[in-house]
Amino acid sequence: MTDKKTIYDKIWESHVVSTNDDGTTILYIDRHLVHEVTSPQAFEGLRISGRKVRRPEFTLATADHNVPTSDRDKGIADPDSKLQVETLEQNAKENDITYLPMSDKRQGIVHIVGPEQGFTQPGMTIVCGDSHTSTHGAFGALAWGIGTSEVEHTLATQTLIQTKAKNMCINITGKAIEGVTAKDIVLAIIRKIGTAGGTGYVIEYTGEAIRNLSMEGRMTVCNMSIEAGARAGLISPDETTWEYLKGRPLAPSGKEYDDAVEYWKSLATDDGAHYDEIVEVNADEIIPQITWGTSPEDVVSIDGFVPDPKNEKNLDKKKSIERALDYMGLEPNTPVSEIKVDKVFIGSCTNGRIEDLRAVSKIAKGRKVAGTVHAMIVPGSGLVKEQAEKEGLDKIFIEAGFDWRDPGCSMCLAMNADKLQPQERCASTSNRNFEGRQGRGGRTHLMSPQMAAAAAIKGKLTDFRDL
C-alpha cells in the first residue's frame, strides 16, 4: 500500500465516524442542501418516528424545481407545486433550518446557491437529494446525490452509511481551443466514456485545461459527472478556489480564512497517488459539442453528422440509435448544423451562472433572436440575476429578443410551467436530453451557452465561432 492519497481518499478518511461490522462506513456529512421535491417524505419520516434534525445549522433549504420563472408576484399557480413549496417552508421552520424563499434574492437552484453563499467549501462532504450535487466537487468537496431515504438519514444523524467508491482520474491535457468551454469539455468526456463509464467511481478531473477553468467552469464539468455515471466528480482546490470563496457570507474570514487555506492546500491529490482508472482527453482536439440523441453520451462535434444505425454492429446500440432517431425526428447522416430549433433554454445548475450569461451577452449583443425561435434565459439564482442586471446584460438580452426570467430549475426538467410542447426542438444548456425531460415529446439538444445563443440567433444549430 502506498501512503500517497487522492483527494477523494483524504476527504473520505477525514470523515469516517466508525466502521460497521459488515464493512460499511458511517461517514460524517458536513453540509446538506434541501429542496422541495425530494425532501417532504424525509421530514414526514422524521415526524412519524419522532426524530429530530441533528444539526439544522448544517442544512440549507431553498425551493427551485417548482418555482415559476415569471409573474412571481402572482405566486405558484399549480396547486401541487404550491403545496410542495409550502411544505418545504413549513418543514424548514419546524426544524430550525435556514430557508431561502422565492422572495429572497438569494433564492435559486441549490447547486448555485450553495457555492454563492460559501456554504460549499473544500474538503467538505456535501449531500443533497439531487443527482447534480456533484457540482460542488468543483471546490474539492466530496459531494453526491442521494435518495429521500438518505435525506432522512442525513437529517436525523448528520451521517450516511457508505461504501467507498473507486478512484478515476480524467486528465484533460493541453489547452482548450479559443471558444471551447467547460461544457464542451464535459460533453467530450461523456462521449468518450459513456453514461455508465463512471459507475462505481468518484472522478477527479485534472490537467491544464481544468486548471485554466474558472470556478464557474469547474462547476459545469463536475455537475455533469453524474451524466458520466459517477455519483461524484471533483477537482483539487487551488488559488482559483480560495479566491472565489474569499468574502462569501459563510466562508471563513480573517485568521480562520488563512487557517482554512492552509488546510485546503493539504487536500490536493499527492503526486504518485493510485487511481483505479485513468482516462486521457486532449483538450486541443475538442471543438463545440452538441448532443443529437436521447442520452448525454449521444454527442457529436458541431461539424459532425447524425449517426446512421446501419454502421452500428452492436445490436443493442443499433436499437437505441434507432429509438433515439425516431424520438428526435432526425434522419441519419444529417449534418447537425442543419438542425433547426424552436426553443432555446439557457440556464440550469449546469450553465446558469454569471459567467455563462456574460458569454451569452457577447453573442447576443447587436443581434436578434430568429423570428421562428422562443429563447429564454433563466438565471441560476436571484444573485446571478442581480449581477447580470448590474452589468446591463438584461438589456442586451431583451434588446436581442430573449425572454429574461426569474431564477429556478425551469425547463431543465420542466416541473414548473416552462416546458416543451410535443415535437418541439430545443437548444439547451442543461444536462439531460432524456425522452420527455423538457416536456413530453420534447426534443433536447445539449450544448454550451454560446452555442445555445448562436442557435437562438440562427434558428438552427450552428458553430458560434462562425457568427
Binding site: F119, G145, H153, T157
Partner: protein, 208 residues
C-alpha cells in the same frame, strides 16, 4: 422497511438500455409529498400515448405480464435523476425484484432502502432470461441462497447471483438504517468534537 427473502412470480422483459428515472416516473408525478400510490404512474410515458391511450406494444400493458413481480431490464438501468420516486413507483406497482446487467449507482442504492432486490447478471444471461420471461414462466428468487430457479421445458434451471453481504443482510432483515446509526450517537458526537477542534470554520456559521 419491508423484508425481502423469497419471491415467486412472473417477470416482465424490458428490452431498453439506459432506462433513466425520468422514464420510470416522469416529473409531473414528483409533486407529491407522499411516497405511496405512485405505482399507477410507473413508466407512464411508455405506457400511455399523448392522448392517454394504452400503447399495446409496451410489455406492462400486455395481459400476460399483469401481476408480474420481477422486471428484467437492460444495462445501466435507473440512470439520471436521484428521485426515490422511481423505486417507490416500482415497489408500489408490485415489482420487488429487478434483474439487469448493470444499474446506475444512486438508483441501485435506493432499491435497498425500499425492499427491492436489484440482481446483477451478465448481459447474455439477462437477454436469455428476457426470452424465457416471454413464455410467462414462474421464477423463484431466493435471496438467502442467492439464486434464481425456474422450470423450462421440464428442466429445472438455476442461476446464482452475487450480492454485497451488507446489502443482502439489509434486505433479509428489513433493517431501519437510521435506528442503527442512532446507536452510534456517542461516536458521532466525538467525531464532531474533534472535527470542530481541527477545522473550527466548519462550525458556528449560519445564514441569517
Amino acid at each position: 422497511m419491508e423484508k425481502f427473502n423469497k419471491l415467486s412470480g412472473h417477470a416482465i422483459p424490458l428490452r431498453i438500455t439506459n432506462v433513466d428515472t425520468d422514464m420510470i416516473i416522469p416529473k409531473q408525478f414528483l409533486k407529491t409529498i407522499k411516497r405511496t400510490g405512485l405505482g399507477e404512474f410507473l413508466f407512464y410515458e411508455l405506457k400511455l400515448d399523448q392522448d392517454g391511450n394504452e400503447i399495446s406494444s409496451f410489455a406492462l400493458n400486455q395481459d400476460q405480464y399483469k401481476g408480474a413481480s420481477i422486471l428484467i431490464a437492460g444495462k445501466n438501468f435507473g440512470c439520471g435523476s436521484s428521485r426515490e420516486h422511481a423505486p417507490w413507483s416500482i415497489a408500489d406497482y408490485g415489482i420487488k425484484c429487478i434483474i439487469a446487467p448493470s444499474y446506475a449507482d444512486i438508483f441501485y442504492n435506493n432499491c435497498f432502502k425500499n425492499g427491492i432486490l436489484p440482481i446483477i447478471l451478465d448481459e447474455e444471461t439477462v437477454s436469455k432470461l428476457q426470452d424465457t420471461a416471454e413464455n410467462t414462466l414462474n421464477f423463484n428468487i431466493d435471496l438467502e441462497k442467492q439464486n434464481i430457479t425456474y422450470v423450462e421445458n421440464n428442466e429445472q434451471k438455476e442461476i446464482s447471483f452475487d450480492i454485497d453481504p451488507a446489502k443482502k443482510n439489509c434486505l433479509l432483515e428489513g433493517l431501519d438504517d437510521i435506528a442503527l446509526t442512532l446507536n452510534k450517537s456517542v461516536e458521532i458526537g466525538n467525531f464532531e468534537g474533534s472535527q470542530e477542534k481541527e477545522t473550527p470554520w466548519l462550525y458556528g456559521n449560519k445564514l441569517t
